[in-house]
């Protein structure tokens, strides 16, 4: 196996601060200047250390609120870790979370171009892929409809169809296997396998033990912000079952 490091986290913690509502505006700050700003902190992740190698497919599993999404957002660079933590990433990455990354005011066509472009495709490449993306998403008839009129399933299909053509070395898949109906899901999973899981580093976040079992080489188990286990998928899943 290729041992080149793809992602390395050392000592990564993430604390969210929620300041009380009376301090979010200037007016409130002035009126409440004599009050102390009560800041609540929530530790979402606690001192995570891990290494992911190039080409691996990694599962992330854990209960609600265990820090799965925070972890992927930190790995993808959307969130910045607390002071002292370090994220090293070799190559480009993108985070696929169905239905986000779209403007509801734009049409499917415009969203394909904007989204494709932010995912690293050139306009000329999108021109070429345009009908392929539409066909895959089964939305040919709605290409010039604003997506605010789309159902959530349609938006997910569109989002998925663009992402499989995107260019990046690392992909984060946050609960994307629930896309569409059965038939679409089958096709989508197959495309994902061909385009991503086979040859690039992929990180799959899912509640479904079936999905993790099927695709992942190794699995991260999170519980209340702590990394409990990182290794063999079978073992991680067994430990996960025990947690419940």
């Amino acid at each position: 196996m290729n041992k080149e490091i793809s992602i390395q986290l050392s000592n990564v913690s993430k604390t969210f601060r929620t300041s009380s509502k009376s301090f979010s505006t200037l007016r409130d700050r002035l009126i409440n200047f004599y009050k102390k700003n009560e800041v609540k902190t929530i530790k979402a992740l606690k001192e995570i250390n891990l290494e992911i190698h190039a080409g691996e497919t990694i599962g992330v599993i854990g209960r609600n609120g265990s820090g799965k999404s925070t972890l992927t957002k930190i790995m993808s660079g959307t969130f910045i870790p607390d002071r002292g933590g370090q994220v090293i990433k070799n190559g480009t990455s993108l985070l696929l979370n169905l239905g986000v990354g779209f403007s509801h005011e734009l049409t499917a066509r415009e969203n394909i171009y904007v989204n494709g472009s932010t995912l690293g495709l050139r306009i000329s490449e999108i021109d070429e892929l345009f009908y392929e993306i539409l066909e895959f998403s089964e939305l040919e008839d709605f290409k010039d409809t604003k997506i605010k009129y789309f159902s959530s399933g349609m938006i997910q299909r569109l989002s998925f169809s663009i992402a499989i053509f995107a260019k990046a070395d690392i992909i984060f898949l946050d609960e994307v296997f629930a896309v569409g109906d059965n038939k679409f899901r089958k096709k989508a999973t197959e495309a994902l396998k061909q385009n991503w899981l086979k040859n690039r580093t992929s990180i799959i976040v899912s509640h479904s033990t079936g999905v993790i079992k099927e695709h992942c080489d190794r699995t991260i188990l999170l519980h209340k912000g702590e990394l409990i286990f990182f290794g063999e998928t079978e073992k991680a899943l067994a430990m996960y079952e025990e947690l419940e």
Binding site: F16, S24, T25, L26, R27, R29, K73, M75, S76, G77, T78, F79, I80, Q86, V87, I88, K89, N90, G91, T92, S93, L94, L95, L96, N97, V100, G101, F102, S103, E105, L106, E110, Y113, V114, S117, T118, L119, G120, L121, R122, I123, K167, A168
Partner: protein, 262 residues
């Protein structure tokens, strides 16, 4: 941090075509969504023109020559300023979908909006030229200074937009304060008041209100065909650089946490 560098690379090679794509789409959303289309872009300055004309020419009888054109020139510069500053306070919120999951550089998002507003300005500028021709005012060589003035205005507005939108992350009611401040700036700009009246009565106005210089130098080169006052041009460039510098600092300090704060 390694991750940001890698992601910057991902989006760098197609950066300019993406900025242009976003600018075009924004422009289209703004003006082509309704039946009147681009006429909307014109309707607003024309309405303002009518109001100020009635107030300052018919009621107060000032003696500025070609007052309608004088007004229109001031109004379109002012409108660009309003659109790109107050209009962009929420930009990190409304455009969150762009940067949240792809780590696209936020600078690109600002540039796209500013370019979109510049297209609107270009359209109004074209109308102004028509007015000048109809009004029998000759265009002259001093128009070559126009790009210099516009670039400075562009940088200044970019800076102010950065400052406001990043402060918005921490202080939500900047939304309420900014219109008050811009009212103040408007009344102290030579939009409907004469350049001399402001300059002679308010000391240091060219330093205090950046719009003072932008509007008057713009008029100099477009309407009066004279060389712009280079001291003003210089002062304005200083305003622009300071605003941009402050804005970029705020973007670094607050902006990087935008997706958590919003």
């Amino acid at each position: 941090m390694g991750s940001n560098a890698a992601n910057a690379q991902l989006t760098k090679k197609n950066r300019w075509e993406r900025i242009w794509l976003l600018a075009k789409i924004e422009f289209k959303l703004r003006y082509y969504e309704n039946r009147l289309g681009l006429l909307w872009a014109l309707l607003k300055p024309l309405m303002q023109l009518a109001i100020y004309f009635i107030a300052f020419k018919i009621v107060m009888r000032n003696n500025i020559e070609n007052f309608a054109i004088y007004l229109f020139a001031g109004i379109i510069v002012w409108q660009f300023f309003v659109e790109t500053t107050g209009g962009l306070i929420n930009i990190l919120k409304t455009k969150k979908y762009l940067y949240e999951y792809s780590n696209m550089s936020k600078i690109e998002i600002y540039l796209a909006s500013l370019i979109s507003a510049s297209l609107g300005f270009a359209f109004n500028f074209f109308i102004l030229i028509l007015f000048l021709i109809i009004g029998g005012i000759d265009l002259g060589w001093n128009l070559i200074y126009f790009p210099l003035i516009f670039i400075s205005l562009f940088i200044f507005c970019f800076g102010v937009a950065l400052i406001l939108s990043n402060l918005y992350l921490k202080v939500k009611d900047i939304n309420q304060f900014w219109p008050l401040i811009s009212q103040f700036l408007m009344w102290l700009s030579p939009i409907f008041l004469s350049f001399e009246a402001l300059k002679n009565n308010i000391p240091y106005i060219s330093y205090l209100n950046p719009l003072f210089g932008y509007i008057s130098t713009f008029r100099d080169v477009v309407m009066y065909n004279i060389k712009p006052d280079f001291t003003l041009v210089l002062i304005n460039f200083a305003h622009a650089i300071i605003a941009l510098f402050l804005g970029l600092i705020l973007l670094r300090v607050f902006g990087k946490r935008a997706s958590e704060l919003l």
